[in-house]
């Protein structure tokens, strides 16, 4: 069974984000980039699936050459190989999804894992778009996954609960925190990863359907007032803010 995991390379969540000189993009200088946190759950689930059913775990990314760092981490966790579709230009989600879907078709994957969203642009769209482009079934925001033969049972998080979803292979699963506990790469894994290949090729570029107009800093909230007593706080919330 071929298992593909799509991974992204994003600024660490502790980063302060600044606008770059062009006014449109964010300034990457001085930022620490990491494997997208949700992709760790995706990689872990792929590795668990391989351990159970056999097969091959292939990492797939679209981005610049810096992405190899996150791909290397995934290989150290235990993935077998990686492919980087090289692109240095702004591509909107659907354009990225089409390039990834093309590659997944070439690979002939039966299961595709993605993180439920990448923590840079927060779109939360990749799993759904890939599924529709590939005509695969899919479950997003998955917090559990059971595979029995061809059948997939997966719980997805919704407001105030979970939907238990039944579907079948081939499938795209978008991983939510809680799906598993991602393993840390051990020394053996890190050494092994150095010998694994990251195949690099140019991404097929599809049209964008959106125009990126620029970034704006959110209006910063000014610090409010310090309150002395619980009674005063509750009164202010009631009478001034009118929220309770």
């Amino acid at each position: 069974m071929k298992i593909v995991v799509c991974v992204s390379h994003v600024p660490d969540t502790a980063s302060k984000i600044n606008i770059a000189g062009d006014g449109k993009s964010y300034d990457k200088n001085g930022l620490t980039f990491v494997l997208n946190p949700y992709d760790e759950f995706a990689i872990e689930e792929a590795l668990k699936t391989k351990e159970k059913f056999g097969g091959e775990v292939i990492l797939l990314s679209l981005g610049d050459s810096l992405f190899t760092e996150s791909l290397r981490k995934g290989l150290a966790m235990g993935a077998d190989s990686a492919i980087l579709l090289k692109s240095n230009i702004y591509q909107d989600s659907l354009s990225v999804a089409k390039a990834l879907a093309n590659e997944i078709k070439n690979i002939g994957a039966e299961i595709v894992f993605v993180g439920k969203q990448s923590v840079d642009f927060d779109n939360q769209v990749m799993g759904q778009m890939l599924a529709e482009l590939l005509s695969y079934n899919s479950v997003t925001v998955a917090v559990s996954l059971t595979i029995e033969g061809n059948k997939i049972i997966s719980e997805r998080e919704i407001e105030g609960g979970k939907e238990v979803v039944e579907t079948s292979l081939p499938v795209v699963i978008s991983a939510q925190k809680g799906l598993n506990e991602p393993r840390y790469p051990n020394l053996k894994g890190i050494m092994a990863a150095k010998k694994k290949t990251i195949e690099e090729k140019d991404a097929v570029v599809f049209d964008n359907y959106s125009e990126f107009l620029g970034l704006v800093r959110p209006t910063s909230k000014s610090a409010g007032k310090l309150v002395d007593s619980p009674a005063e706080l509750v009164r202010l919330l009631r009478e001034e803010a009118k929220v309770i």
């Binding site: 600024p11 969540t13 502790a14 980063s15 302060k16 984000i17 964010y26 946190p37 909107d92 659907l94 923590v119 840079d120 927060d122 779109n123 939360q124 769209v125 990749m126 759904q128 778009m129 599924a131 529709e132 079934n137 899919s138 925001v141 719980e155 997805r156 998080e157 919704i158 407001e159 105030g160 609960g161 939907e163 238990v164 979803v165 925190k177 809680g178 964008n208 359907y209 959106s210 125009e211 990126f212 107009l213 970034l215 704006v216 800093r217 959110p218 909230k221 610090a223 409010g224 007032k225 310090l226 309150v227 619980p230 706080l233 509750v234 202010l236 919330l237 803010a241 929220v243 309770i244």
Partner: protein, 322 residues
Amino acid sequence: MSNKFLVILEQRNGYIKKSSLEAASVSVKIANQLNAGVQAIVLGDKVENFDLIPLTGISEVTFYYNKELSEYSSSAYTSLITKHITDNNFSEIFISNTALGKDLAPRLAAKLDCGLVMDCTTLEIVDNTIIATRPIFAGKMLMKQKLTSAVKVYNLRPNAFGIIEKEPSVVNIDKVEVADVCLSTKTVEVKKNEGKLDVAEADIIVSGGRGMKGPENFNLIENLANELNAAVGASRAVVDAGWRPHAEQVGQTGKTVSPNLYIAVGISGAIQHVAGMRSSKYIVAINKDKDAPIFQIADYGIVADAFEVLPSIIEEVKKIKQ
């Protein structure tokens, strides 16, 4: 050809959600500015609150019904709605950014091969074009975008727009029975978190952080949440420590929330937490460290030990509720 807007309404247990009414209200407002028509669509088994539709200004609703549509199915919803959009030449599609809307909107964009903006918090018209603003990096930055495809999908953040009530008018509901429901992906059960409000939907959230010292002390947070009819939230630190379930986590790797009132107790205000709650209308910070960054964004702050002030706050809230 004038534009035709479609707003996708979401029902859960037979009731159209407030966030959908908000999306309807927004689409009517934008449609009026662009001289466009607006219709709505809802899928389900039955709908009990069609009477709320007139307030949004929507006058035409298509209701696709079948028992199998009562719960969400990505396959069924995607195929029916895609067909409805192409058959009727809708050009602008609006849907709320709920669990269902997040799942569905990107599928529609892929199927219709068109542009999409997720999680919009503002829509403005410049030169007859919709400019969308959406938070990125969990709200540390805002991004402005316009769509260039013929069909455009806008996914709207709940509670960011509000409902502008209209003079009630007559609503025409076109009921269409669906013969075959494509259930290649099927919800077989919905498990509810019993008696708990979800942070993503609550008007008030009471969140606890490391300052609560241990999971056993969260009863104070829960008691205050109960008194305020609020949801319980948590910082990443306490979720990672296993004190609270991840469904409660607010922040960049948890949920982004914008309630009317957010009470942060024993939370220092790490950048990744603040990113997820800074758009709350009112923020209260309770922390014994007067230099905690959370105070910089709080409307009201109390510098005190949570264990000392929470019981009194609970008592004060009880008093005003009497």
